[in-house]
């Protein structure tokens, strides 16, 4: 009896619809040691839909599926996504578990304990952020007041795959979306801006943040704040977010804190 062979993965529910929908064909547009990113063309002018195949030790991006066995497909590989599978060459991955990148939080409690997060961010050495902390807090704070212009000024600023400026904007958007305080038109404007001003991956992550989706380290930190946990526990949750990337974790946290402070 011929056996269908496939490798298991665990995927974000954010890309569940794409994986379980009808089959679409895309291309690996970028690869790195810990991830390959697949772009699936959309109709008309909509930006390509991006999803990441992630190594198990990669940060669990909200647009990603972690796979235990590879190899991750290199740039240029044709990839078929749909009907529950991701197929690249002779490899087929199937999500067997899912995680929800949107934390479910008591928003009132999150606002009530906002100081816990601000204090955790304030306690970090100034040099750990990609942009000076006051700038980051101002960008995020402006977004909380529906002013996107400071955000436009930093989208795409910074060297990495997810430039510093984008991490700040994503942090702010995520917390505002979770709180139901991110206006649809503001979100659309940010997405459109990110689409032309930053990397496709980073633009996809800003869009995900606009839906309230975030990496588990950020979700855990917000949950810790919303639960009003002791300062030492909030600090521990913050440390695991700070450990992400070189400055990404710090910049995300600054975005979360700036928006939360301004919206409280």
């Amino acid at each position: 009896m011929a056996q269908r062979r496939f490798f298991p993965g665990w995927a974000s529910t954010s890309i569940g619809g794409v994986i379980t929908g009808s089959v679409r064909t895309g291309t690996v547009i970028a690869d790195g040691p810990a991830a390959s990113y697949v772009a699936l063309p959309e109709d008309d002018d909509t930006p390509d839909l991006l999803l990441g195949l992630l190594a198990p030790d990669a940060v669990r991006l909200p647009i990603g599926m972690c796979v235990l066995e590879g190899p991750l497909p290199p740039r240029g590989t044709t990839v078929h996504v749909g009907e529950g599978h991701i197929v690249a060459g002779r490899h087929t991955w199937q999500p067997v578990r899912w995680w929800d990148p949107r934390p479910r939080l008591d928003v009132a409690a999150l606002f009530a304990h906002a100081d816990l997060l601000i204090d955790a961010v304030d306690a970090e050495p100034a040099g750990s952020f990609g942009l000076p902390l006051p700038v980051a807090l101002a960008v995020a704070g402006a977004l909380a007041h529906a002013d996107a212009h400071p955000a436009y000024g930093v989208l795409g600023l910074g060297p990495g795959l997810t430039p510093t400026g984008d991490d700040i904007v994503a942090g702010a958007c995520a917390v505002l979306a979770i709180a139901g305080r991110l206006d649809d038109s503001l979100r659309a404007a940010l997405d459109a801006h990110a689409h032309t001003r930053t990397t496709a991956l980073s633009a996809a992550l800003v869009a995900a943040a606009g839906r309230g989706e975030m990496i588990p380290q950020a979700a855990r930190l917000l949950a810790s704040v919303a639960a009003g946990e002791p300062r030492a526990d909030v600090a521990a949750a913050a440390r695991s977010l700070f450990a992400v990337g070189s400055t990404s974790g710090h910049d995300l946290a600054a975005g979360l804190a700036g928006a939360l402070k301004a919206a409280s």
Binding site: M1, Q3, R4, R5, F6, P8, W10, T13, V28, I29, A30, D31, G32, P33, A34, A35, Y37, A55, P56, D57, G70, P71, R75, G76, G84, Q94, V96, R97, W98, W99, D100, R104, V154, L155, G156, L157, G158, P159, G160, L161, T162, P163, G165, T196, R197, T198, T199, A200, L201, S202, A203, S240, G245, S246, T247, S248
Partner: protein
Amino acid sequence: MTADRVELRPGFYRDSVTLLQASEAIATSAGVEAALIAMATPLNLELYERLAFEAAAVASATPNDLLIAVRAEDEPALERALALLEARFTAQVAVATVGFGVPEPPHTTAAALRRGGTLSLISLPGAHAFVEAMDAVQAGASVMLFSDNVPVEQEIRLKDEAARHGVLVMGPDCGTAVVGGLGLGFANVLRPGPVGIVAASGTGAQQVSCLLDAAGVGVTAVLGTGGRDLSAAVGARSTLAAMELLDKHPGTELVVVLSKPPDPKVAERVLAAAAALDTPALVAFVGRGQRDLTAVTADVISALGRPVEPPTEWAAPYDRHPRAGAIRGLFSGGTLCDEAMAIAADTLGAPIHSNTPLQAEWQLGADLRSRGHLMIDFGDDQLTQGRAHPMIDPSLRLERIAQEAADPTCAVLLLDIVLGYGSHADPATPFAPALRRARELAAADGRDLAVVVALVGSAGDPQGRDATAQALVAAGASVHLSNAAAARVAVELVGGADR
């Protein structure tokens, strides 16, 4: 005269740590005057222009390109810097592609947990498991303790220590768990959904979760507690902790607690705790006179307001007429064996001999020799010492199938086959020919040996549930997703009460 080099690499992604370190190394290397290594976003291109690199070189740049711009005092310095950059990039890849970037493994459980992680899976021989499990608990991690043969006193100490650290010990002898989206141990491919399961029974949890999956109902988590957790000695320490965890979990809409018949006082405590949860809870103790796992699953489906359909079965390619003789049940799952024994004993009113009997006087001898109706749990501690679990290694059951086929008093073979990760990669390959040979051997002796299989698996399991079922049917078995239904068919085939 200075030398410039500008390069765009489309789709070349390195994380920001690598890029920053590479930039820094280049910028500070001898003879380098300016360097920019960044994604070519508009803002980074502005930086590039401010450094007075040539604008035309990046006219075609998109934000998805890696921009490498280096200026050095002369060509040799430039080449040295670029070689250094490549070395940085390839060094990262070389380290990272070995096993997906896993560094040298840590030497102790606590050391492993210091690198991050909140859950530890321990699958050492029972005699050595306690030390590692305690190490993990004291490092603040929950433990799935797959090992069996762990003394009960050690189990109690572990669970008390876990309570002090606010973590959960699943096990010992915890066969299956789904935690935070990960399947551990023997795990079926289950859809996500609203049901959180706490189970002192691995195969019981697999049966219920697979039947739920077949009915379109998914799970948030399956937390095993170990088969002894509801004994008087252990006092449901892990069950109560797991119920509390699921109660706090926002995605869990219904908590289901499964156990073999517990100590009566412990049962009272569990029922009281279930009633006190904020989340609706359903507690099922499986055993004689109790509802079977399939009925419990139907209760869960009803509680969620979904329609209840009978579980799928694939009929055997011959008539289901009663025949004289005994049932011989050969199980890999303890709870599945217990459930089948309870159904057979209640319906037939005859002793069901076993290595794990319902009544002490039905105990099989150490040689497990057949007499009358018999059901053996091949996953019992006594039979797994020094060998793999029968869900992985079918050899003991295959031998027994041949032995029963040669026994003129054997009328019905009843088996469970459990699918999913961790289980045998393709159970149809050993079992289908063995069952076909058994029927042929019996037929040569003038007997129509019936074969009934309980197939515990989900449609997504890697073995291919439906293909496995079809291969078994082709070998002459009737196949049932419900273990209870399989047991009832077996009973009916030896002339017991009709279904």
